[in-house]
């Protein structure tokens, strides 16, 4: 059948994970499935940087994806990185089956600010849509209101919209139809901006 599988790795805010799952289900109009939690990705820990290698988490995810799931999104609370960059919010295989999302930098507490639950959840939605968009082959969108716009800092992340623009939604619908065995999908777009 095909759909999006979601798994947490290590200790993760379970409510946030459920929220991300429902966001993907409604935004893409696609079946989602919650897998059993994965072990903490200690294998990806980099002592020198005090962060986790998102590339290694992705490699691990590739091996763990159930054959029936078209995509697997792994959610972690750890701060993740690629060697070139000081951090990433998430990483995906472009047009590939796996993506990873870190919740670490989506919390106000990370920046020494008081917690803000609604803001945190909106950020998680944006980044989940963004990374899953990459797995369906979407690249960054020039529409600053689109979830597929590149955000390199938290201000940019907050400035962009929490839906796909109509162009990205169309591309996504076509790509997801192919990837998910022709299942009829109703990818929601944020409308015309």
């Amino acid at each position: 059948m095909g759909g999006i599988a979601i798994a947490t790795a290590g200790a993760v805010d379970r409510e946030a994970a459920s929220w991300v799952e429902s966001c993907l289900a409604t935004a893409l109009g696609i079946d989602t499935e919650r897998l059993d939690p994965l072990p903490d990705p200690s294998y990806a820990y980099d002592e020198g940087r005090g962060q986790y290698s998102s590339t290694l988490v992705l490699h691990d995810a590739l091996a763990r994806r159930p054959a029936h799931a078209a995509r697997l999104l792994v959610i972690t609370e750890h701060d993740i990185f690629i060697p070139m960059l000081s951090f990433v919010y998430g990483q995906a295989q472009l047009d590939g089956p796996v993506a990873v999302l870190s919740l670490a930098r989506l919390r106000q507490e990370f920046y020494g600010l008081p917690p803000n639950r609604p803001l945190f959840l909106v950020r998680a939605r944006k980044e989940a849509l963004h990374e899953i968009g990459h797995t369906f082959g979407l690249t960054h969108c020039n529409d600053p209101g689109c979830a597929m716009a590149l955000s390199t800092n938290i201000e940019q992340l907050d400035a962009k919209g929490s839906d796909y623009c109509s162009g990205c939604a169309t591309l996504l619908r076509d790509a997801a139809r192919v990837a998910c065995d022709g299942a009829e999908l109703a990818v929601r777009s944020g409308g015309i901006r």
Partner: protein, 456 residues
Amino acid sequence: MKKHWEVLVVDDEPVMRESLAAWLAEDGYTVDTAESGREAVTRAAAKDYAIYFVDLKMPPGLDGIETMMEIRRLHADASVIIMTAYATVDTAITAMKEGAQEYIVKPCNPEEISLLVGRIIKVKNLQRENLILRKKLAKQYSFHDILSKNPKMIEIFDLVREIASLRSTVLIQGGSGTGKELVARAIHFSGDRASKPFVAVSCAALAENLLESELFGHERGAFTGAVERKRGKFEMADGGTLLLDEIGDISPKLQVDLLRVLQERKFFRVGGNEEISVDVRVIAASRVNLQEAVAAGTFRDDLFYRLNVINIHLPSLRERREDIPLLASAFVERLSHELGKAASELSEGALRVLVDHDWPGNVRELENAVERALVTSKGHVLDEDDFAFLRREAGHGNGWAAPDNMSLDEIERQVIMATLNRTAGNVKEAAAALGIDRSTLYDRMKRYGMSRTGVE
């Protein structure tokens, strides 16, 4: 827009290489990777990338700097970003000296790399757009290698099309370097003689008897040195077009001979008695005003009327300043290629200098100026400093130019003397004019042995 740009990531460390490549691919670039300097150079030889990310520290053989230099040997204006974890000042300086566009220390902020890449791509986009625009303009405004959007020139293009297939003689007048020969060629090559020869002779270059044999040919033994029979330009141009450039310079005797050929389309070779007939369209060109030469009695009026059946007067470059950017860009494009220079653009400032210049030598002078600027240029853009020689040559009223073999002391001595002469020996005024104080001027005067009147 960025989706069409290709980048190359060069790093021997797999995770580093693949994760950066993936990040760039998500941003919409087409990414290739290379795990060694060798492989990078091979890939660069196959195609030029918009950006090269090159890791500084790679195994012996080809390190980052050497790889960059090899890439630049292939593509002089390649944008190379050197990546390093070793932020030592030394390597940074070396990289910049060798021409690294940018230098980033890993790990870097996502914002930083995104801005850097965006900046480089913006420049690349601009260059690409300019190139497309230039090509479009060049096509739109070009007529047989002549570029213009000036109304007078466009009228000339229309006239040329109209008269191209006639046999009437044409007289093209205009200052030197205005493109008289190009117009003559345009007439020939847009008419039905295009497949026949186009022959050009400069009448200024040759003495009377040489020109005579050049035009009409000679028989063997016609004069000392005529060891063989030789065909003249009229015969060579049979069926086609003959351009007689600088017609105003021909002697009275040749004027008569020419008049006869134009009337009868027949002539004799020098020293020959066989009459030769030809079908040649004659185009004459002159930088001197032939009407005035007729009035002054140095040019036959009957020949003038024979030549002046169709008259084309080419405007000076001063009269078509709007063409200067178009022409200058076309010259930069062609000459930078011929001279193997990286420069492909003119800065706003450079264009201003060119548009403001008076161009006594017209389009040819502009072409020479662009060539001269290119020869000494280093960067990708020619700016006003590259054309500083124009300002010097234009002079400031008295046409001052740096004299050969004159020491700075000697120049200073002469300037002080001239200033004192002008102020009639008034040291206070002279010092003010020279922008130095009085005691300094006294010192110099003493050093050069001058009195107040400026005379020794």
